[in-house]
């Protein structure tokens, strides 16, 4: 398409003339998730002073850590413009594998072996989506089912339990504390900081945004799109393996379906953090906020004496409101222009 004189004029005007109302809207939408978070915290604290006690905050973050660690990896995948629906199944897989190997070859070898196996699955998905460029929704949907089958085949459908639950140091990842802080929280925090820096400050991080924002343009700028997408899935798999490790270590025994349904909760947290499913936007920090919002809502509603399923309904409303306000601010109109 050739740009005519008038077109160019329109474009320039469009850039220069930004209505103030829209600016306010944009600021609100950009920080909307933080504002909503703050409002929630204040409201729940007023309703129940226990809500912000150190014990409660620790317990919320600790129980969100597994979901959170997975969400960190999925953030990379989503920013690169793809989806990962297989993380739930994959987490079940790594939990079962590490528990099984724990008794067979000992924890020191079981953990790297489990990481290697999970990364193989990640590499397979990354190859299919990155190099073969198959639709990520269908590929990871297929892998959701396939990995579930793989886990069941591996375990023979049996629950997996560690024989000697008292005498193993393996429980440190899920149950231990270091410097007065529960280890799952530490792992989550360190991973979040690390991946946050990778995404925001490194060349690789830039490439992830570029590939997700406009894949063709990124390719023409010399970015190896396939490799970038592949690496995103590897990061996701590594995060899933870490989550599986925490889960296994926390319970020291597990069913085959431990991660079932987590993929959608993880996605909900990432979307709540403001990452667009079209790719190219989102940050690690916002994903962490998304995870914490989900965790604190769940906890807050329970403290108010409501049943656990009320949080499902509340989460529904919050997800849609958050995404709606985000895109409403971007287009400058509350209602969609669809006729």
């Amino acid at each position: 398409m050739s740009v005519t004189q008038e077109n160019a004029g329109d474009l320039r005007e469009g850039i220069m003339a930004t209505p103030t109302k829209q600016q306010i809207g944009t600021v609100l939408a950009r920080q909307g998730i933080l504002i909503a978070f703050a409002v929630f915290m204040i409201a729940f604290t007023l309703a129940n002073p226990k809500f912000l006690s150190v014990d409660n905050v620790f317990s919320v973050v600790r129980s969100s850590a597994i979901l959170g660690v997975m969400a960190l990896g999925v953030t990379f995948v989503v920013i690169s413009g793809n989806l990962d629906l297989s993380v739930g199944s994959m987490m079940s897989f790594s939990t079962i594998v590490v528990l099984d190997l724990h008794d067979k070859i000992g924890p020191a070898l079981a953990i790297p072996a489990m990481f290697a196996m999970t990364l193989c699955l990640g590499a397979f998905i990354g190859f299919l989506v990155g190099y073969l460029r198959l639709n990520s929704l269908i590929v990871t949907l297929g892998m959701l089912s396939a990995i579930h089958g793989l886990t069941l085949t591996y375990s023979g459908g049996q629950n997996m339990d560690i024989a000697d639950k008292e005498g193993t140091w393996f429980s440190v990842f899920g149950q231990g504390t270091a410097l007065g802080i529960p280890v799952p929280i530490l792992i989550f925090a360190v991973l979040a900081a690390l991946l946050g820096v990778v995404l925001a400050k490194t060349a690789f991080g830039r490439k992830v945004y570029a590939v997700g924002g406009n894949g063709t343009a990124a390719t023409f700028s010399g970015i190896r799109r396939a490799r970038t997408v592949f690496n995103c899935y590897m990061i996701s798999a590594a995060c899933v393996a870490t989550a599986g490790l925490i889960q296994a270590s926390r319970s020291l025994g597990s069913q085959n379906t431990v991660g079932q349904g987590l993929e959608l909760e993880v996605l909900a947290a990432v979307i709540l953090g403001g990452a667009s499913l079209l790719g190219g936007s989102g940050t690690i920090f916002k994903t962490v906020i998304g995870v914490l919002i989900l965790g604190f809502i769940q906890n807050g509603l329970l403290l108010l004496g409501l049943q656990f399923y009320v949080q499902f309904v509340v989460t529904w409303v919050i997800i849609i409101l958050a995404v709606w306000l985000d895109i409403a601010a971007k287009r400058g109109k509350l209602w969609s222009p669809i006729a």
């Binding site: 949907l141 409303v317 709606w324 006729a339």
Partner: protein
């Protein structure tokens, strides 16, 4: 022959070829591996297969419509559960106590209305807010499930009405009630998509929404109608299934969305919209059910079914990419 005609024929016939392959494979393998003496391609067995395909199949027809339209619905499993609970619960409500067996049509109607309304609600949100259908229905998948739990907590809801059970177990011309409903729904949705203005517009919107808008098609109402239809069909599927079983757990219908989407994609519907038809989806539904039954027949356990279906889904996607001329061009970039 026009360029691309061969690949088109290959693609539309692929699912039926796959079904034939499955039949041959399981019949031959069954001779050696099966524990029972009954042949796999037994007529009775095939009729049972059709009946067992109905719950997923009926929803899959609606999903075809929604996906051709360029959207997706992840909330069907939860809608399924809500409709089931309303069906069974409403039959015990005191206000209907004097109705006798006339409570059945009332309960059916209530359940179907609930499904339609929930679907329409999804559609309305997609239309008015402009939020992607994936996100909207991901949210309502959680929200609807929450509503399911509100009825009876974590306890199952049970109510057996023998007239209703007789109706659900009845056979007409050798086919069970559920099979008739599956065939009727397939025919109805086929007619809707191939022979009506609404169906044509649904294809147009899914193929190129901007062009559809420029052609004067009102995109929003069409999308909302399609969501209402899939909600209705999810409820219909539940109503038929639970008329027979009479007991519903609050977790029932979980992962249905994934099975349904798998069937639809196997049937050749494009995930981005604009292409696909219910005949292919019917093939996809049958193929999945055959695979489950066949693997059971040769003594494989359920884990293998999951593994095989997942890998087949990916293989189909890969073959589709190779057969798709446009896809090859994209690969060069």
């Amino acid at each position: 022959m026009q360029p691309g005609a061969l690949s088109k024929a290959l693609k539309s016939g692929a699912i039926w070829g796959f079904i034939v392959l499955e039949l041959i494979f399981f019949s031959v393998a069954g001779e050696f591996l099966s524990l029972s003496d009954k042949a796999f391609m037994d007529f009775e067995n095939m009729l049972l297969l059709l009946k067992q395909s109905a719950p997923i199949g009926i929803i899959a027809m609606g999903m075809t419509l929604v996906m051709v339209n360029g959207n997706i619905d992840l909330s069907v499993g939860a809608t399924f559960a809500i409709a089931a609970i309303i069906l069974l619960d409403s039959m015990t409500w005191p206000i209907f106590a004097g109705l006798g067996d006339w409570v059945i049509p009332v309960a059916w109607l209530l359940a179907l209305m609930a499904g339609t309304l929930l679907g329409a609600l999804n559609g309305l949100i997609v239309w008015k807010t402009g939020v992607d259908a994936f996100i909207v229905t991901l949210g309502s998948m959680l929200g609807f499930r929450g509503i399911v739990f509100m009825f009876n907590g974590e306890n199952p809801t049970s109510h057996l009405n023998w007239t209703l059970v007789d109706f659900a177990e009845a056979e007409f011309l050798g086919l069970a009630t559920a099979s008739w409903f599956l065939l009727a729904v397939t025919l109805a949705v086929w007619f809707l998509m191939a022979r009506t203005v609404h169906g044509r517009n649904a294809y147009a919107i899914g193929d190129n929404r901007e062009a559809a808008v420029n052609a004067g098609i009102r995109v929003g109402p069409h999308m909302m109608i399609n969501f209402a239809i899939i909600g209705f069909l999810a409820a219909l599927s539940a109503v038929i299934f639970y008329s027979e079983s009479g007991s519903v757990n609050p977790n029932d219908g979980q992962l249905y969305e994934l099975w349904v989407i798998t069937a639809v994609v196997l049937g050749g519907t494009k995930i981005t919209g604009g292409a696909g038809n219910v005949i292919g989806t019917f093939g996809g539904v049958i193929a999945i059910q055959l695979l489950r039954k066949g693997l059971g027949h040769i003594g494989a356990d359920t884990s293998t079914v999951n593994l095989v279906i997942g890998l087949i889904l990916i293989a189909v996607l890969f073959l589709d990419r190779q057969l798709n001329v446009k896809g090859k061009e994209e690969l060069k970039v």
